[in-house]
Symmetry: C2
Subunit: 141 residues, 2 copies
Amino acid sequence: MTDNIHTSTGSAVKMVTECGLRPSPQRIAVAEYVLSHLSHPTADEIFTGLKERYPTLSRTTVYNTLHALAAHGAVLEVNVEPGLTRFDGCTEPHAHFMCVDCSRIFDIGMSRMEFPQEFDISTMQVSLTGHCPECRQAHRR
Amino acid sequence: MTDNIHTSTGSAVKMVTECGLRPSPQRIAVAEYVLSHLSHPTADEIFTGLKERYPTLSRTTVYNTLHALAAHGAVLEVNVEPGLTRFDGCTEPHAHFMCVDCSRIFDIGMSRMEFPQEFDISTMQVSLTGHCPECRQAHRR
DNA sequence: TATATTTTTGTAATCAGTACAAAGTTATAA
DNA sequence: TTATAACTTTGTACTGATTACAAAAATATA
């Protein structure tokens, strides 16, 4: 759960290039931020966090980069809070637990759906995306 | 998955009163809509759907009612699509599958996490809310 | 170097959702 | 009843996240 501040730039560059994007400083910075801050930041938190070191950075670039990374599955969009998209650099299958008091979002492993007992779960939502039977057939998948 | 147009008004009234709300025509209409349209409508879709029959209905009333119902667990907020809250009158534990082609959202049972094979699952997100260990201890829960 | 391509930036626009106060309803008390 | 209080609805204005878009900047190619 602790953010790893010392993620190597290498993996960020790799992530960007593997998504078919040129490894520009801004894109590397965004990828690096997401990889090193596993606290599920919003696009705006990422923007603010990078603004000091990259004063000319624009919000649009952050959004564009995040969407491109998410489209390639390199980063996950987390929709726990209504109306707010958060981003997760950890792409291993896991659940997100949001505390209704402090609003923090915790990662929780979910092997065999046995959730840790310390967490007092009141609501649960499983969201899947993919191709439905009709669309699957339409595309002969 | 087919919407049941003929949901009795009775259960809608019951739902509203059980949430501690006065059963006003507007509130009953919203509850009835959610119960009879299990296609995960947005607040705006509910508003538009009811506007014809209730011409003076305001969006704010729809939002207020939905939030009150959701706060009491009578209705579920579904956050599959980023930036858009949908509502679900079915409160049985189940998963939501969104087709990336047609954008429809399907209900999927999840007993023992065995999802139906017809659906071609590409991403999965489990979201839980509740009280984290710290907040739990702070409130001696 | 000149030119084409890509990327970034900044502003304006959009859109879901919220705040809030006035107007309308319903309930309660005299 | 009538007056008064409590609640509900409405409509408008506002907020805040996200998107659209075109100009400017950077990078690659000829």
